[in-house]
Symmetry: C2
Subunit: 204 residues, 2 copies
DNA sequence: CAACCCATGTAAAAAGTTACATGATTAA
DNA sequence: TTAATCATGTAACTTTTTACATGGGTTG
């Protein structure tokens, strides 16, 4: 149950956010390591308000918009939860199940479909990687880290290391997708090319 | 909704498995990319039997044990689902949320707790990696791949590539954990060591 | 005969997804 | 003024997790 804590984190980072704001941020930056739909977010915000972790005010100039802020009790809860350990995240990848199914079924007609899925996966990894690398270049280049307090520098190191997790994850996914495509390609001797091509693809 | 298909795959691989057998396999080999508890599995098997995808018989010599097998309709469904595409898996890692919370809260006392969690994560990745590497050495070394049919060879390549996903995933997690620990270590100038140590750790 | 693995479930709660619904504001 | 985006929800459903429960067989 980490959604409320992800929301508290987001509210500590930027107080006076609406559910809509939070939902948008869960589609971008935070969304890399925690997804949530707007329905989940609104429901969770209501629960958190009842628990006394956050409070909300009507946004000036808007009839429907409500902005939330983290209360001291919410901050205490976030500190408590952050220090507490947790089990490693469960991995669930349907594409790997599909590949294993194809191997078990032994039907060669499935290879084409899997190849297409792998190519799609590859472009997804490449796209994510490019956007993460842009963020890294923009926010975490050496010249930016100069006249800061030690606390600020540590927070920045922490945020950078989180982004690095995303970068490494996407790189590893990209490299594996290429390896998998090369392995599937080996099945057709007729259009098989020089094995060195596969190695090139892995290096690129 | 891939659990039924993961179960069908497992039943195609080894017919006449009980719910208990399947649950054990979901704790080991299949468990790397799809987790399921025995409660989920028993319920799902009942559903699949009602849908006509599997059938069950009482195991001889046992009163309580039931063994399942995949029916033609189940096989057709598995083929259909395997060819169909799907969205990439959602990533959810509470440790990254915790790190981001620590950065947002700006309390240095949390660094110790996070360091401990990172060290634990690191040993988990190392342990998983070692066991995957053992499987790779045992089942996928070059001398084993000789007198096989082309279909068998392709299935074996597929299973190998799935294992490679696990290996790459654990390697990337291990490397990132080390990078993160090195970044957190940079905060304490008193016990800071030669930066080269961090590089060594990344190479090992 | 106690501890452990085999074997199968029920019940309840939490978390997440999908579909539906509505109204306000803003920019072309 | 129409379409897109902002903004907030409800309802129903599915999936997953956690806790509880039971009983047979095997081995030290």
């Amino acid at each position: 149950m980490s959604l409320p804590h992800a929301l508290l984190t987001s509210l500590v980072e930027r107080p006076s956010s609406s559910g809509y704001d939070l939902a948008r941020r869960f589609d971008s930056s935070i969304g890399f390591f925690w997804r949530a739909s707007h329905q989940q977010i609104y429901r969770e915000l209501a629960r958190m308000e009842k628990a006394g972790w956050v409070a909300s005010d009507e946004a000036p100039g808007h009839t429907r918009k409500r902005v939330y802020r983290c209360l001291p009790a919410g901050r205490r809860e976030l500190v408590r939860w952050t220090a507490e350990g947790g089990s490693p995240p469960v991995v669930r990848d349907a594409l790997l199940v599909r590949m294993r199914a194809a191997a078990a079924l032994g039907s060669p007609d499935l290879s084409g479909a899997l190849e297409a899925q792998l190519r799609e996966r590859l472009t997804q990894h490449e796209a994510a990687l490019m956007s993460y690398r842009e963020i890294e270049a923009r926010d975490f280049t050496s010249e930016r880290r100069s006249a800061e307090s030690e606390a600020q520098a540590e927070a920045e190191r922490m945020r950078h290391v989180i982004l690095r997790a995303g970068i490494r994850f996407e790189e590893s996914g990209r490299d594996w997708s290429r390896e998998a495509l090369a392995a599937l390609d080996a099945r057709d001797p007729h259009d098989a090319h020089d094995p060195l091509d596969a190695l090139d693809a892995l290096d690129a």
